[in-house]
Amino acid sequence: MAIDFETLRPLLIIVGVLGCLVLTASLNIWIERRLLALWQDRYGPNRVGPFGLGHVVADVIKISFKEDWIPPFADKAVFVLAPAIIMTTALMSFAVMPFAPGISVVDLNVGILFVLALSSIGVYSVALAGWSSNSKYSLLGGLRASAQMLAYEVFMGLSLMGVVAMAGSFNLRDIVLAQQGMWFVVPQFLGFVVFFIAGVAETHRIPFDLPEAESELGAGFHSEYSGMKFGAFFVGEYIGITLISALTATLFFGGWQGPLLPPVVWFVIKTFSFISIFVLLRASLPRLRYDQLMTFGWKIMLPLSLANLLVTGAVILMRQ
């Protein structure tokens, strides 16, 4: 049977992207631990393998073989479903990501909407996890998570509308191509700031890590999870970070574009730069309180993103 390369190509891309993502997620754990250690005057994992990279493998092995325990008081079906949702939505979002010219799983003309829709579904994961665990700490974490993610979802989407208006398309590939002259971070600086902050909140990282605030709620919505299900949340969070970083690079920093180096390399460099910023935030900031987070979202970020949209729209109309 003759199978030509063109038939195989999408399959190869799908498998390659999936593999790379899972690898990146576990690599992120290593990057985060090493970078945090660097900024906190300590060594971090440096024993197994070169630069301590073996720790990643060891962690994966450990977590896969841990007892997968479901608390007897939990709502079993939902309890199992919750971590699957976050993994699925986070991975699926990458389907529309243009890694380089011609390398993307699918070229959707509503790319941004697709990503936003999936991240909205992702909220269900934490909400359901908190609810089905049937534990008070989980419940509080789940409640915090749903309110926080719903709020930040709103202006996360709004902050991107400036970019969409300038590029004239929801398609991520078109948006990258529209940045050939100038990266959107320059005209859309406000949009970039709002989007990145919302992204930090979406992935519930410090200073917005209230759903799992370990000094308050133990581990928040995933208090009752162990073994591979906990691992799913963990990996889901890191894929989320990768997603936000990749989106920032794509939407505001010209995606794969860059001189000399091949496009994929530029994409990876940009993405990892933003991942490092996530880690730097974690190393340097305390956590907001719940009501402060909501106030910050609705009273500062939302008006800012609306103003940004308004001004962008006005400027575009004036130029026409």
Binding site: K136, P207, G218, S284
Partner: protein, 589 residues
């Protein structure tokens, strides 16, 4: 300071009390410290206390301590009433007079207890519960006289003299099924028992059990939270998980061998804990500590103050979600502990002070170590200040959170940085210089707001002042012995042991049986890292103390938690807990 020069007659309060209460008030002759002490009948005690708090000129606004002494097996009964069984001791403090007073209420078999003074001082609540828990003395009119340190199923009152102190004095432990059942049932949570209502017909409150194992409580502390959403309706601390009976151990260890136990009271302050205990023992024994030993004690205590404040700062930041400060500050603390290790040999619990001085002289090269820390630390501290105290999120989380007024602080018996954050420059090192503190130049930092941020500000400035004191120790360390040549100094100086028989005998006895401390009662307090530490010791002329009372600052501070946490969110509760800087071993003893 000889006891004679401090007889109660010399204090003006004696005349004022006699004028108001012509009958039923007797000065106490047992004290060896400078605290005027009076015996009163149990019935009269609340009136005397009310007079001292509200009516007398220059009043005594602080209930500094409240505890009980079991008089029944005392060699020499000192109470005016020979049939008395227990004595309830009220220790009050006056800022205006810069003087304390002790009121001893006689509790006999007939009276059976005293009236509660919770209406006078809110802080009396826990103290009276503790007294009842430990001695079974009832406080009539107390709103909630339940066990506080011991489990509810405990039988007997542990600090009574007839309660066994060692496992070998009692039957082997057994856990039959019905006992297990009983213990299990006792652990079930019923909101009514804690004075909490479950809600109305329309809604239920959420009861959240924070602890005893929780990353935010810094030790074994359980807080029962009554929540309306995330808002705290009521928070009730449940303490006692860290109770080890330190006061009971004080009654079975020799004066000398109790020193290591004191290290473990506030386990972050190391040798600083030795100091008030030893000062009380030295007052009883009439020992004068040589100047070099005094200054070494001051220097090591101040090192531990910085170390303790560093742990507090790091963990406080962590409670607010900042991860990195903990690592920086533990690194710096490590540098202090290295100096402590070079000097004392130990790190967290060096147990290094001795009756009459310190264990050894400073090692060669100590000055280099201290100098390098003095050079190293200030820039680091400035960095932390910029990174945290000026951080917007940190400020938002701490300014205006957990605030109390100066009056509340005084009513609740708050001491240390918590009191100074309300604007009161009260520091025992300045107000009542001990161990040679009168020679040092340093400031008493204060803040005005009394909130979490103010407490943080005060502690950071205190670290600077401690460093100043250490630098002065480095410059002015006197020459001389590091232990008194008083015969009761333990272990005695060895240089003369092999030369004359008297010294040899004293040495042998003090090391084997421990020193026999002369009869008397003495209190001694210092300005610790968390507040005022104090030891009240009763000796009836034995190798062991008859009663060891440990006055700790964390106990009254934690008692204030319900007052501070009503109406705030769970996140704020963690900020408040962090800013209080308590140590659970210091609460439970």
């Amino acid at each position: 300071m000889s006891p004679d020069s401090l007889s109660p007659v010399s204090s003006p309060i004696h005349a004022e009390l006699e004028a108001r209460f012509p009958a039923g008030l007797f000065p106490d002759g047992e004290r060896r410290d400078n605290v005027p002490t009076f015996w009163v009948d149990a019935g009269l005690a609340p009136r005397v206390l009310r007079f001292l708090k509200t009516e007398v000129e220059r009043p005594y606004p602080v209930l500094y301590d409240l505890f009980v002494v079991d008089e029944r097996t005392r060699v020499e009964r000192t109470s005016p009433d020979a049939t008395s069984e227990y004595t309830v001791v009220y220790h009050l403090l006056s800022f205006d007079r810069n003087e304390d007073i002790r009121i001893k209420a006689i509790v006999s078999a007939e009276t059976g207890g005293v009236d509660s003074i919770v209406d006078l001082w809110p802080s009396a609540n826990w103290y009276e519960r503790e007294a009842w828990d430990m001695f079974g003395v009832t406080f009539r009119g107390h709103p909630h006289l339940r066990r506080i340190l011991m489990p509810n199923t405990w039988i007997g009152h542990p600090l009574r003299k007839d309660h066994p102190a060692r496992a070998t004095e009692i039957e082997p432990f057994q856990l039959p099924d019905e006992k297990l059942q009983r213990e299990q049932e006792a652990m079930a949570f019923r909101p009514e028992e804690w004075g909490l209502d479950r809600g109305t017909d329309e809604f239920d409150y959420l009861f959240l059990n924070l602890g005893p194992h929780h990353p935010g409580t810094h030790g074994l502390l359980r807080i029962i939270l009554q929540l309306d959403g995330e808002e705290i309706v009521n928070a009730i601390p449940d303490i006692g998980y860290h109770h080890r009976g330190a006061e009971k151990m004080g009654e079975r260890q020799t004066w000398h061998t109790f020193i290591p136990y004191t290290d473990r009271i506030d386990y972050l302050s190391g040798v600083m804990n030795n100091l008030p205990y030893l000062m009380a023992v030295e007052t009883l024994a009439g020992i004068t500590v040589p100047p070099r030993a005094q200054m070494i004690r001051v220097m090591m205590s101040e090192f531990f103050r910085i170390a303790s404040h560093l742990v507090w700062f790091g963990t406080f930041a962590q409670d607010l979600g900042a991860l990195s400060p903990t690592f920086f500050m533990f690194n710096d603390r490590e540098r202090i502990l290295q100096i402590v290790e070079a000097v004392c040999g130990g790190r967290m619990h060096p147990s290094w002070f001795r009756i009459g001085g310190v264990a050894h002289d400073l090692p060669n090269g100590w000055d280099g170590l201290v100098r390098s820390f003095i050079d190293y630390f200030p820039p680091r501290l400035r960095e932390y200040e910029v990174a945290l105290m000026k951080n917007t999120i940190f400020r938002k989380r701490t300014i205006g959170i957990g605030a109390y007024t100066l009056q509340e602080a005084i009513d609740w018996g708050v001491t240390g940085p918590g009191l100074r954050a309300c604007g009161m420059a009260w520091d025992l090192r300045k107000a009542r210089p001990y161990s040679g503190f009168e020679q040092f130049e340093f400031d008493v930092p204060t803040a005005t707001k009394g909130d979490c941020y103010a407490r943080a500000e005060v502690r950071i400035e205190e670290m600077r002042q401690s460093l100043r004191i250490i630098e002065q120790c480095l410059r002015n360390m006197p020459e001389g012995f590091v232990k008194s040549d008083h015969p009761l100094a333990t272990p005695p100086r060895k240089d003369r042991t092999m030369h004359d028989i008297e010294t040899l005998i004293t040495h042998f006895l003090n090391v084997s049986w421990g020193p026999v401390i002369p009869r008397g009662e003495a209190f001694s307090g210092i300005e610790g890292s968390k507040g005022a530490y104090g030891y009240f010791l009763i000796s009836d002329g034995n190798t062991m103390s008859y009663r060891t009372r440990i006055r700790t600052p964390s106990f009254p501070h934690l008692q204030m938690l319900p007052r501070l946490s009503r109406g705030v969110t769970v996140s704020d509760l963690l900020a408040i807990l962090g800013s209080m800087d308590y140590v659970l071993a210091d609460v439970d003893r």
